[in-house]
């Protein structure tokens, strides 16, 4: 029962008035289920967001409310067991991307994403995290990256990218304005992103650098829900930034890393506020909007319909909703078409929140992606653009799995390809 005890302690730790008032506001109407792509795809009632946070609610009621305490004492309310934790671990890590769409349909406006993250905090404290995810977390603790991007791999990859695409990548430049922190997904799987972003920033005349210390923006501690590990990985980035004396930190095409660094870091590590933290999508919008870089209008027209996939952590939870559209209207004024629903109401890709890292979650992950296939097919798009490498991983993997003939591309890459020197 020690696991349960640790989970309960973490739940209690999570339960400030902020969480408690939202748990109290829930009327158990079940509407959140209708927003969940995993529920929609499978029809499994246990995937209803309200049910996924059931243990958090139960722990709160039993510990903090008189009625809950009485019910538990009388045996009406069930105590939380290790088996419960295991079961809810599956529900939360396999079938939730913490995309927060549920919060958009809740009539009470409950910020379910935060509660779901609170669930993960409890499960992480109890050690009830899927083995695949834990392997990645431990790898990040030990090697600095869940994808094995060690010091020497980092060196080799960056040199190779600089060579292959003939682009200059400033490294560990003391006193640069901007620190760009890539995700290892990009370094290892989408190296064209590195080249593209380097090309854009060089063209804009930005004084930028990468850091060998702050080289990994991915934060598997955040997926896991462990505050300790999240802080550890965040502090690596912040320390690297401090050493180089930069003014701002640019998070590249990675969603949850941006969520952690931009919207959570300052509450754990006040030094985060020494820097402006911004997503590359915001930077691109700025550069194009101000004319610091010029794009060839219509560069991507004439090759079938292009659509944009909104990432939950960058658009809905990050606020960079308009910039990609402004840019796509320049790049492909004729062929850019919106999916429905889109923008802050968009449907998640199904691979975020660490789900894609868990092998056992594959069936439900592919099932959720079928909603995306429907959406894309409805606009008849042949190219899907996105600003999140985790979405992109899910898209490329699912395109293979379902044998689709789509082109999947990152926004930065399109911008780089359309640059007018």
């Amino acid at each position: 029962m020690t696991a349960t005890k640790q989970a309960l302690n973490a739940f209690v730790h999570e339960t400030g008035g902020w969480v408690a008032s939202q748990l109290e506001a829930c009327t158990r109407c079940g509407m959140c289920a209708e927003a969940c792509h995993f529920y929609q795809a499978t029809g499994n009632p246990e995937y209803a967001p309200v049910w996924k946070v059931e243990l958090l609610r139960r722990a709160y009621e039993q510990r903090f409310t008189i009625f809950g305490a009485i019910k538990t004492a009388l045996g009406i309310d069930k105590r939380i067991t290790d088996e419960d934790l295991q079961h809810w671990s599956d529900l939360n890590y396999y079938a939730c991307t913490v995309c927060n769409k549920c919060s958009m349909v809740c009539p009470m406006g409950i910020d379910l994403g935060s509660l779901l993250h609170g669930m993960r905090a409890g499960l992480a404290a109890a050690g009830m995290v899927p083995a695949d995810l834990m392997t990645a977390v431990n790898k990040q603790i030990e090697e600095g990256s869940p994808l094995g991007m060690t010091d020497s791999v980092w060196d080799q990859r960056l040199e190779w990218v600089a060579d292959e695409w003939e682009v200059e990548i400033p490294r560990d430049v003391q006193g640069a304005d901007t620190l760009v922190v890539f995700s290892s997904i990009e370094v290892m799987k989408f190296p064209t992103n590195i080249a593209a972003i380097a090309k854009i920033l060089n063209a804009a005349g930005e004084k930028w650098t990468v850091s060998s210390k702050a080289r990994e923006v991915v934060n598997f501690g955040f997926y896991q829900g462990s505050e300790e590990n999240t802080k550890l990985f965040l502090s690596r980035v912040l320390e690297g930034a401090k050493e180089l004396g930069v003014k701002r930190i640019v998070v590249t095409e990675c969603g949850h890393a941006y969520d952690a660094l931009r919207w959570h870091a300052a509450n754990w590590l006040p030094e985060a506020n020494d820097f402006e933290i911004i997503h590359i999508t915001g930077v691109l919008g700025e550069l194009v909007g101000s004319g610091r870089i010029r794009l060839k209008p219509g560069a991507f027209d004439g090759d079938g319909t292009i659509t944009f996939h909104d990432a939950c952590k960058i658009q809905r939870k990050g606020g960079h909703i308009q910039e990609p559209r402004d840019i796509l209207k320049v790049l492909a004024p004729e062929s850019f078409k919106e999916m429905t629903p889109n923008r802050e109401q968009s449907v998640c890709c199904g691979g975020g929140g660490g789900v894609i890292a868990v092998k056992a979650a594959d069936p439900v992950r592919y099932a959720a992606f079928e909603l995306k296939i429907d959406q894309v097919n409805k606009v008849g798009a042949k190219t899907v653009v996105m600003t999140c490498s985790n979405c992109r991983l899910q898209f490329t993997d699912s395109v293979d799995h379902f044998k689709l003939d789509w082109k999947v591309i990152g926004l930065a890459q399109m911008v780089a390809d359309a640059l007018v020197e």
């Binding site: 902020w18 939202q22 506001a25 079940g30 009632p45 409950i110 506020n273 923008r343 802050e344």
Partner: protein, 225 residues
């Protein structure tokens, strides 16, 4: 004991006791939740938190109940929108804009307000009752609602339904004698008042917390609520 005496008790001491429990209970609930502490948000905002809160309430109060089809989820589970909307509309109109109820408030607060003509209130009361039945059916047949509903949910439904149905019968002189029906109405109202702080019916107060939080979170990020 005759029904006149029961009625006197139900609309007299019992009612005041229930009212006291309701008010004290709700204050207790609020204090315990607020007392859990609120950590300060040090994250710099991108958009306006205050603007988000205003939008969140406008949307919650105007858009949600009256134009539900703006939500894509309306198609997926229309029963809950229709049932929930009818019920809340009927309840608010009957409780605050029904003449008999306004007079109760007047005797308690010392001031009154204009009310709606009885036929309108009456139709909305009927709509509220129909809404509640829809919600009950939905709770019984929907797989998610079946999973998340326990005795507490059904009891809460029953304790809200009884005052509504007895009140409706009372205005239409249905069922047993007037004093009997009136007594039953008052007893069920008292039971409801006592039950509210003990149950999720208290959501009407925490609604203001969660919607404000929602507005803050989305406003902070510069995203439409």
């Amino acid at each position: 004991m005759n029904w006149t005496a029961i009625l006197e008790f139900a609309r007299g001491p019992f009612f005041y006791a229930a009212l006291l429990i309701f008010v004290a209970g709700m204050i207790y609930r609020l204090v315990t939740v607020i007392g859990l502490g609120w950590s300060k948000d040090r994250v710099p905002a991108k958009g306006s938190k205050a603007g988000g809160v205003v939008m969140s309430f406008l949307k919650g109060i105007l858009v949600w109940p009256f134009i539900p089809w703006v939500k894509n989820t309306f198609k997926r589970n229309p029963l809950i929108y229709i049932g929930g909307g009818l019920f809340h509309l009927g309840l608010f109109v009957v409780v605050f804009l029904g003449t008999a109820h306004m007079l109760v408030f007047k005797s308690l607060l010392g001031f009154g307000w204009g009310t709606l003509p009885l036929p309108i209130v009456d139709w909305l009361a009927a709509a509220g009752i129909v809404g509640m039945l829809i919600l009950l059916i939905n709770r019984i047949i929907h797989p998610v609602l079946r999973l998340i509903s326990g005795p507490a949910e059904y009891l809460a439904w029953l304790f809200v339904f009884l005052p509504m149905i007895t009140g409706y019968a009372l205005t239409h002189h249905l069922g047993p004698r007037y004093e009997v029906m009136y007594s039953l109405h008052m007893i069920s109202v008292n039971v409801l008042l006592i039950w509210i702080p003990l149950s999720r019916i208290s959501h009407f107060i925490f609604y203001f917390f969660s919607r404000a939080i929602h507005g803050q979170e989305f406003g902070k990020r510069g995203v439409r609520v």
